[in-house]
């Protein structure tokens, strides 16, 4: 084989990444009393941090109730049925906590 010969090699990475287009839900400022849910990922002080955030939001929005959902592992997503239940009950949900 000469030094400049062309050879065929195969791509090793993931090639099927396709993000479907989606339309986000319309944004609106809530005026009626609603439930805010906070999803604690189980990390130390996550509950306290999210609780503080909920308190700040209570000053700005008509929040009737704050519900806390705690995960057993920060490394696992919320179970689908729990997520569905939270979505049904809540007008606003805060999650996405890291380290």
């Amino acid at each position: 084989m000469s030094s400049c010969e062309i050879s065929i090699v195969l791509r090793p990475d993931y090639e099927d990444d396709q993000v479907e287009d989606f339309v986000p839900a319309p944004r609106s400022v809530p005026t009626e009393p609603f439930t805010l849910s906070i999803i604690d990922n189980g990390k130390p002080k996550a509950k306290q941090l999210l609780g503080e955030l909920a308190s700040l939001l209570e000053d700005r929005f008509p929040i009737a109730k704050v519900e806390l959902v705690s995960k057993s592992s920060a490394g696992k997503p919320l179970e689908a049925d729990v997520a569905q239940s939270v979505a049904v009950r809540s007008r606003m949900v805060i999650t996405g906590l890291g380290d």
Partner: protein, 357 residues
């Protein structure tokens, strides 16, 4: 099917470096004929799915596994073991998404037990966790390259390891024949006689353990337990799985003294428990009111391993005064569990669940 790239043969390695498709070391260019040889060994179609990481919306095909195995330097006959290891990694119990992304920086540590250890020339005595064996190096490297290339476990993308460790290049622990009367690791998993198992543990780096002078085998175990309860280890006081490597002198002395593997596991689980005061003396604050609720149990102590059965006890390592080792899982038990597969000659591997690991 994977995209075919036309590249000058002299530039292929640099091309892969430039695209971030390597682990920092040169690779074997994955040409179609080499990839075909691996797929032929397992008789799997290129698009056969070995598993997925749902959180990343990505799946692994046999072809991508073979491509990355060629790149890692695997011989074709290694591929059934690579397939089994990858299918274990993609078991939901293992939680690959977290293991591959956590700041804790876990390796995908493979524990191999059975006749393939000798057949493939794995190091299972001297340098069992060191360098020099193609099987140990390339099979572990293959699963890491899959994690990087197929599942995006790369620095700056989906691998957030703060420190990491060298086992993230490759980490394979091959079992040597246990002393007479002790079951092999594969047998404990329920593998049929004459078969080979592979278990995957998301592991921190190995700690070498020395005890050169104590003639009492129980002294060996106390030394190992002391390493297992080091407050600096993230899982100590929380409860996790660990792999314990019983070196040559330790395993021979313990077996001669009448210890069973179950007895060793119970002893280590008990003696690796730690008090809140010891953790606090080392500056470790207890996690409370969180997923790791570190409340001392009835004996006033906290667990370092979640149960005796969560000690993956492996006989390995060559003669030499007093060396053993242990590797803790990177996270407590609720986040990830070791998973095992029976290596099959062709097709997919089989789930092994004889022991709850």
């Amino acid at each position: 099917m994977a995209e075919q790239l036309n590249i000058s043969s002299t530039e292929a390695v640099e091309y892969f470096f430039d695209r971030g498709w390597t682990d920092g070391l040169p690779i074997v260019p994955p040409t179609p004929d080499l990839v075909e040889k691996l797929l032929g060994v397992v008789d799997l179609a290129p698009d056969a799915v070995l598993g997925s990481v749902p959180e990343r919306d990505r799946h692994l095909t046999a072809e991508k596994a073979a491509i990355n195995s060629v790149m890692a330097g695997c011989k074709p006959e290694y591929f059934p073991l690579v397939v089994a290891a990858l299918e274990a990694i993609l078991d939901p119990e293992f939680n690959a998404h977290a293991a591959m992304s956590s700041t804790g920086g876990a390796a995908l540590c493979l524990i191999v037990s059975g006749p393939l250890v000798e057949e493939h020339g794995f190091f299972h005595l001297n340098n069992v966790l060191g360098s020099g064996s193609r099987a140990n190096a390339s099979i572990g490297r293959a699963v890491r390259l899959v994690a990087m290339n197929v599942f995006g476990a790369r620095t700056g993308l989906m691998d957030a390891s703060s420190i990491g460790h060298p086992g993230k290049y490759s980490m394979v622990l091959a079992e040597t024949t246990p002393p007479r009367g002790w079951p092999t690791f594969a047998e404990e998993l329920g593998a049929p006689s004459g078969s080979t198992s592979v278990t995957v543990l998301a592991a921190e780096g190995p700690r070498q353990i020395a005890n050169h002078l104590n003639p009492d085998p129980e002294g060996w175990l106390l030394t190992i337990a002391s390493a297992m309860r080091c407050p600096a280890t993230f899982t100590v006081g929380k409860g996790a799985q660990v792999a314990v490597v019983l070196g040559y002198e330790a395993r021979e002395s313990l077996a001669r003294d009448g210890w069973s593997k179950d007895g060793i596991r119970s002893f280590l689980a008990q003696h690796s428990r730690i008090s809140a005061e010891e953790l606090e003396a080392a500056g470790v604050l207890l996690e409370l009111d969180s997923a790791h609720n570190m409340v001392p149990e009835e004996d006033g102590l906290l667990p370092s391993v979640s149960s005796p059965d969560d000690i993956l006890l492996v006989t390995a390592g060559g003669p030499g005064a007093g060396w053993s080792a242990y590797m803790p899982a990177w996270a407590p038990i609720q986040h990830s569990r070791a998973t095992s597969r029976l290596v099959t000659k062709v097709g997919h591997s089989e789930i092994l669940g004889g022991k709850d690991v």
